[in-house]
């Protein structure tokens, strides 16, 4: 299994951002992380990427514990944040060059980089400085860099922001292809249609807790069995609105 999260808690001072989250993403699976703003999706992804330290719980990426074997875990993953920042004074190609060096890629990496540039329509921009690129272009560069080392665990936070229609299609196709090749993929997004299109399973967060998890096809089947015909959007709104307004969770309360 590629991604395992057990009893993950994240507490900031007196605020509980994520509380007791447990899930796993198998190779070939595309898991959609959905939930209202501030539900704990990005906090979870950042912990998986090794940026945040869990207050409690365990995170494994490709069998490597993020707490004790972070370098090996990070070698296997790619994390693209919701607003990736590039090095302003470096060209597109120099970003790839650095990533190749950081992940100790074999000498054949330029060929793979060329393919990625082609896929994301960046070939003509290879010599452009990051500061000269549009928001969408920068997003494409960050995704391309993330895919260069063929990660077995892919974490994407709002990956379609700023992409043009062709970029969106390429992104979807690439994610599906990577999953078919055995990568475990997690996508956090507010675009529920994207999640329905692309993901095989879903994890719904609300106030730091998982309120729904399962395979999308099974959720649809169960809804049909219950005599309901509801989209993921309907389900999302029903479940998040069903939750009674509660005071913010605090560290003492958990």
């Amino acid at each position: 299994m590629s991604i395992v999260v057990e009893d993950y808690h994240k507490i900031y001072g007196e605020t509980v951002a994520v509380q007791g989250v447990t899930f796993r993403v198998e190779p070939g699976e595309v898991l959609g992380l959905i939930g209202p703003n501030g539900a704990g999706k990005t906090t979870t992804l950042r912990a998986l990427a090794g940026i945040l330290t869990p207050t409690r719980g365990r995170i494994l990426v490709s069998g490597h514990d993020m707490a004790t074997d972070a370098v090996a875990a990070k070698q296997a993953l790619c994390y693209v944040p919701d607003d990736p920042k590039l090095f302003d004074t470096l060209t597109v190609w120099e970003h790839f060059r650095f990533i190749a060096s950081a992940y100790r890629l074999d000498p054949a990496w330029p060929e793979r980089a060329e393919v990625l540039l082609e896929q994301f329509e960046l070939t003509e921009k290879r010599g452009a400085l990051a500061s000269e690129l549009s928001r969408g272009m920068r997003q494409k560069v960050a995704i391309g860099c993330g895919f260069l080392h063929d990660p077995s665990a892919i974490l994407l936070d709002e990956p379609l922001t700023g992409l043009d229609p062709r970029g969106i299609r390429t992104m979807k196709q690439t994610v599906q292809a990577r999953a078919r090749d055995g990568a475990a993929v997690m996508i956090s997004s507010h675009l529920l249609s994207l999640v329905e299109d692309l993901c095989t399973s879903v994890l719904m967060f609300h106030r730091g807790q998982v309120i729904l998890s399962g395979r999308l096809d099974e959720l649809s089947r169960k809804a049909a069995e219950d005599g309901r015909s509801e989209s993921l959007e309907d389900l999302f709104l029903r479940l998040t609105e069903e939750q009674k307004p509660e005071p913010a969770l605090d560290a003492e309360g958990f």
């Binding site: 090794g50 940026i51 330290t53 990736p84 090095f87 302003d88 004074t89 470096l90 650095f98 950081a102």
Partner: protein, 549 residues
């Protein structure tokens, strides 16, 4: 250091040089570089023509004596005021690319130290020109400064990591309290022991005596090698010996930092996010402070009347200023301090009853308070200067350019004028009676403040720029600052010169009163005439321009 991180440093250095080179390819870039280099040309030439400056022995002696004290004070302030994670301000790109990448924390620390050293090597060149009078031989001064600045950076990093190693983030306040307590205890002991021997001495004499005590000498010992290396006169033993000791101290700090290797990534990411969010807010012109609590209820400023279209614009800027109160407060506090110093110098004491004092000194300080607009103007930039990213919005408002201009300028003008009025009033009451010319100086406050703000905004609208972090050694940025400053000063000199010229003609006919009245009218007229010019500049402002200064 990891080879990939070395490659990144190399690529970034090359990228910086490439960008400088590209800018040099344009006429504007070439001109700004030339102006920037002109600032340092005399210092650079002096280094080659006179590598061993003479006649600065006294200054060097003072530097050797008090330089270590300054370093000690800096380090103590780092211990006292360090927020715990400030030394690790990684850029957003570094967080995006390096934190999820397969690097150990130690490798990232080594990268940070290496990057800081590269910047220090560059910054040291310019600092060595500024410190030239404290050195006997420029190369020694340069190396000594690089070692000293590296020491300060490494010390701050070591403090941060040590703080985090002992449970830092939660105990930052306790740590600061502990250090403050130690400082108070040490200070109290020193005072109680040495009070009698220091009694009757001037502050400078007392400081010299205190500095000569064995306890202070021991406290200053780790800082002395850097100062002695900077001011060394001979290669051996002076420079090589002290530079080696300084290098060894830095190496020990590097070893300590790498050994500490605490879990700093999360704190660094959070700290960097706060820092860059603050930079972004400043860039957009919002308040430089913000609450970390998203649910904070901000106090409201009551809506202002329409006032011919000026009211809504004024209300927005007043609200911004109100929510950035700490920044605004600097202005009246500075004025009040100046008034206090003026009263003390004019009267020789603060004792009651009020009144009396040297009228010339009072007038001098009134002039200084009047001139503070030159320094205070950038602090209260609640006008076009902080609205770079909102110019589109301002242009779409159903208001005439003149209405927008008046609304934009009213807040900073009112803030400076009110602060000055308070300081003038206190100065006058405490030293009553004041000379009639004092009121002449007071009268010029309004036109001078308005003109200064108009010129600042005019320069901004003609040569738009927004604040960004500069790399040390960016001569083009320095050149740009220089050109704009010269333009501002020339504009101000021209306007005040014309007003003074008119006043002089009136003086010949009717004396000082006529001079003040005519010059004041001339200044007010100029202030009014620049308003439409600002309106034209606002209308002509190209929102597509995206200039980073």
């Amino acid at each position: 250091m990891d080879p990939a991180l070395v490659l990144l440093l190399r690529l970034r250095l090359w990228g910086w040089l490439r960008r400088m080179g590209r800018k040099l390819g344009t006429a504007k870039g070439l001109l700004l570089t030339a102006v920037g280099l002109m600032i340092f040309a005399p210092s650079i030439l002096a280094v080659f023509l006179d590598p061993k400056p003479r006649g600065a022995a006294m200054q060097i002696e003072g530097f050797q004596r008090f330089g270590p004290v300054l370093l000690l004070v800096y380090c103590l302030s780092t211990l006292l005021f360090s927020p715990g994670d400030k030394a690790f301000a990684f850029s957003p790109a570094e967080i995006s690319f390096l934190f999820p990448a397969p690097f150990t924390r130690r490798k990232l620390l080594a990268y940070k130290i290496g990057g800081n050293l590269a910047l220090t090597l560059l910054m040291g060149i310019f600092m060595s020109f500024a410190f030239r009078q404290n050195t006997r031989f420029w190369p020694f001064g340069y190396v000594g400064l690089v070692l000293a600045f590296s020491f300060l950076q490494l010390f701050a990093m070591a403090v941060t990591l040590a703080g985090q190693a002992i449970g830092a983030r939660a105990s930052t306040r306790r740590r600061q309290l502990a250090v403050a307590l130690i400082v108070v205890l040490v200070g109290a002991t020193l005072v109680s022991v040495g009070w009698r021997s220091l009694a009757g001495l001037t502050p400078l004499e007392a400081l010299k005596k205190l500095e000569a005590t064995p306890a202070v000498q021991v406290a200053l010992a780790p800082f002395r090698p850097f100062v002695l290396a900077i001011s060394a006169g001979r290669l051996w033993p002076d420079f090589l010996l002290w530079a080696f000791v300084g290098f060894a101290i830095n190496a020990a700090l590097v070893a300590a930092i790498l050994l500490l290797d605490t879990q700093y990534l999360e704190a660094a990411a959070a700290s960097s996010e706060r820092f860059y969010a603050k930079l972004e807010r400043m860039r957009k012109g919002g308040p430089s402070v913000s609450s970390r609590n998203p649910n904070k209820k901000w106090k409201q400023v009551p809506a202002l009347p329409w006032w011919g279209g000026v009211g809504p614009i004024l209300w927005r800027q007043v609200t911004t200023a109100y929510r950035d109160f700490a920044r605004v407060l600097v202005v009246p506090i500075t004025m009040l301090v100046l008034a206090g110093v003026g009263i003390y110098v004019a009267r020789g004491h603060f004792h009651l009853p009020l009144g009396g004092g040297d009228p010339d000194v009072v007038m001098g300080f009134a002039g200084i308070i009047l001139g503070t607009v030159l320094v205070m103007s950038p602090i209260v930039s609640f006008d076009f200067r902080s609205d770079f990213e909102r110019m589109e919005g301002l242009k779409t408002l159903p208001l005439s350019p003149l209405q927008v201009v008046m609304g934009q300028l009213a807040t900073p003008a009112a803030l400076i004028c009110a602060s000055q009025a308070l300081a003038f009033a206190i100065l006058a009451v405490a030293t009553w009676p004041v000379a009639p010319l004092f009121w002449g100086i007071v009268a010029f406050a309004i036109p001078l403040n308005v003109i200064m703000l108009e010129v600042e905004n005019l320069m901004f609208l003609w040569f738009p720029s927004r604040p960004m972090a500069h790399t040390p050694g960016d001569v083009q940025a320095m050149g740009r600052m220089m050109v704009i400053m010269i333009a501002k000063m020339l504009s101000l000199a021209l306007i005040t010169g014309v007003a003074a010229g008119l006043g002089l003609l009136a003086y010949l006919a009717g004396g000082w009163v006529a001079f003040v009245i005519v010059a004041w009218l001339g200044m007010m007229l100029s202030a009014l005439l620049i308003m439409p010019l600002l309106g034209v500049a606002f209308q002509a402002f190209d929102v597509a321009s995206d200039t980073v200064s």
